[in-house]
Symmetry: C2
Subunit: 434 residues, 2 copies
């Protein structure tokens, strides 16, 4: 055991004291002796900056000063490291930049801030020779950014695929495992606190998109910002979609997919996809998250865990805190990404396999006509099934699984179907994870 | 992009040039410009030490010196970092200690060495102020040791569960998915190069045990050595066992399980276990590996990937190499475990749920007698099923699933069954992962 140097105290200024902040206060208290043993340092939150002091509930014997003067906190000479848990872009951005410019390492869990202004933060940290660490921002408790930044520094990563939004994964899991429809599953997620009363940010993929931008930046070494990410939500998914997928051996998952193409362009999109039940991502259920990497040398890697929640997120913040403190004492900081802004491939130019369920007239020649829409668009059909629609044998239900093709060509097939006299509806349409 | 300083070359001495070593030579060549971009350093293997020079096949234009004088290599002033890929305890141990004592950071993928002499290596590295890094030793390409050592330094880890042997996982997956029996699956694994001609080290759990010892040491902060690990192999597993498990919603997996108990004792064991099909470890198929962690704050985490293979293992070595080189240039090294040797709990005192399939006389009173063996041993039965044995209705097949109980009590039930006039055989017995 190391000799404990009681004078080596790391003084922390905490911005924001919601669920994660409050969990961090408790976690640091609980792990104090173990942290002294493993790091030789005592971590002490000396000040908490909030908007409304009366909302902060600390243990009765707490010595922590609570202030609304956050601008003073980030420059306070008595503070070694700043932890930002406010969320949102402003005032978090101003405060983080001020802290970095005051020479203080910053730890943040703020995905919106990083996905919008990450480059500015990295550059400011680098110019001041301090760390900006943000493990909790991308996948909650899952240590994914550190492996990306360190273990995989020599790796040529081709794809990053994540289930990085617990709300949508909970809803899709309930629809899949419990046979609920979308509205029922959303309502249950809201009751359990997994979804907000206005769930747009989660359901439409904005939350996952911000996280994907952060991961893509680290994986590929070029900055990707939130506005580079294209989104498709899950609110139109039906119980029938889940059943169609299930019968073919797939589950539907809300995926964040970041790819590096041979031409050097990067594509990042969030969309519901068919995932083979045997793929490890298919086993990620409920509010859990996972990130799947495909690298040239390391082959496939997956990281799984809690993507949200006070204590899991606080544990990721604590990992960064230890890292920042050790670096601070050694007078060093971690290198950040050296790259330029990514060159973004338009979504229409990205490729996938596709899954179509098409209801059409049940008569000779119709299948041939619809198959023609695919061949017109240079899409090869991998598998096809057709049967009369239950209860209406004038209609047939056709299921098509295609080879890889351009997104814009699949869109064109949908438009051809919609304009066709044979087709009554495109009942279901999804991309398939390869 | 960083200015490239062509004079900053990291000179590497490589010990051993088998599959992993050869992949590393190629990987470093292929990633050279990217590594210069991200680290500012050029990584150059200047010397390879082997037993038989004629076995080393390098690219025709290679400038690498090949030598049999490994003792001189590890002390050579022209070498900055030593990579040990010989395997086995000696002469690897002597060479690694000599390199560390010569002030050179060492990277090793040698699980036997670490699981036997890890403590000696860590202490020697620490005394010389250099790194000994060994990411590739525990789970191949999966970056598990760095998260354990860094991201989770503030975490109270309770259990580490791993599928860390690709040979046994391949065999069990083939038995499960393809209906092969043990001999067929082993033979196929041998043909594909997943199993050695003498597969004992994998099949009986020694390989997994060494990896579990390394992970337990880092997870719990106390040294665990290979001889602390208890083992049970998979060679007795039958197709019927797989079917029994399947019918109850389980798959059989070879698990390495390391636990920290409330009394501070640590238990590490390798055994085939029933894993719920919905558990993420159940989705780890074929030659893939995964490590599942349960922590107080981070909750559940899983890391999945390739556990073996030349290129994946070389990618893990490369991650360590970059880390060691950055540390070397900063004049620092990573702290290693500060703990004492672990206090080991005897396997008989560890607890599990158990699964029994017992064939017995099909007559009144027999079930009651057998249930009595469990209650005699303080084992509560959670679920029980009984039906006449197909083709022989004088016999009944009874399936018992128990609550958690001590291993020694489950052993006693087996002995009671074997001594019983009612019981013809204990057909199947497994621990169940909770």
């Amino acid at each position: 055991m190391n000799a404990v140097n009681h004078s080596d105290v790391i003084k922390i200024g905490l911005l924001g004291c919601g669920t994660v902040g409050r969990s961090l206060v408790d976690l640091l208290a609980e792990r104090e002796s173990e942290l002294i043993r493993t790091t030789g340092m005592r971590f002490q939150i000396v000040m908490i900056g909030v908007r409304t002091i009366s909302r902060v509930t600390l243990p009765a014997d707490s010595q922590i000063e609570v202030t609304t003067d956050t601008a003073a906190l980030v420059k306070n000479d008595n503070i070694d490291i700043v932890i930002e848990l406010i969320g949102g872009v402003e005032p978090a951005r101003d405060l983080v930049l001020a802290a970095l410019n005051a020479g203080k390492p910053v730890i943040t869990a703020n995905k919106e801030l990083l996905a919008k202004s990450g480059s500015e933060l990295y550059q400011t940290a680098s110019a001041n020779g301090v760390d900006v660490l943000f493990e909790a921002s991308a996948a909650g408790a899952i240590p994914i950014l550190r492996p990306l930044r360190e273990s995989l520094l020599g790796e040529d990563i081709k794809r990053v695929m994540g289930i990085v939004n617990g709300t949508t994964n909970y809803i899709l899991t309930q629809m899949s495992d419990e046979g609920q429809n979308y509205a029922e599953a959303l309502s249950q997620a809201q009751q359990l606190g997994y979804a907000e009363s206005d769930p747009t940010n989660d359901i439409e993929g904005y939350d996952a998109g911000a996280k994907a931008a952060i991961m893509a930046s680290l994986a590929f070494g070029n900055y990707v910002v939130a506005s580079d990410v294209t989104h498709e939500g899950i609110s139109n998914i039906t119980k029938e979609d889940i059943t169609f997928a299930d019968e073919l051996g797939y589950v539907i998952k809300m995926l964040a997919l970041a790819e590096k193409f041979a031409d050097g362009e990067i594509g990042v999109r969030v969309f519901p996809a068919l995932v083979d039940k045997k793929h490890p991502l298919a086993s990620v259920r409920g509010s859990y998250n996972a990130v799947f990497l495909e690298g040239e040398a390391s082959s496939e890697l997956m990281f799984y865990g809690r993507g949200a929640g006070g204590l899991p997120t606080a544990s990721a913040v604590l990992g960064d805190l230890v890292d920042a403190a050790l670096n601070l004492r050694r007078g060093m900081h971690r290198p950040v990404i050296h790259g330029e802004p990514a060159s973004i491939k338009p979504a229409s130019q990205m490729r996938s396999s596709f899954f179509f369920v098409i209801d059409a007239k049940n008569s000779p020649g119709v299948l041939s006509a619809i198959a023609g829409y695919f061949s017109d668009q240079n899409i090869s059909i991998k598998a096809m099934e057709q049967e009369p629609l239950a209860g209406d044998d004038t209609q047939a239900r056709m299921v098509f699984l295609t080879e890889e093709a351009l997104d814009e060509n699949a869109d064109a097939v949908i438009k051809l179907c919609e304009a066709s006299d044979y087709v009554s509806q495109v009942k279901s349409f999804f991309r398939v994870l390869r």
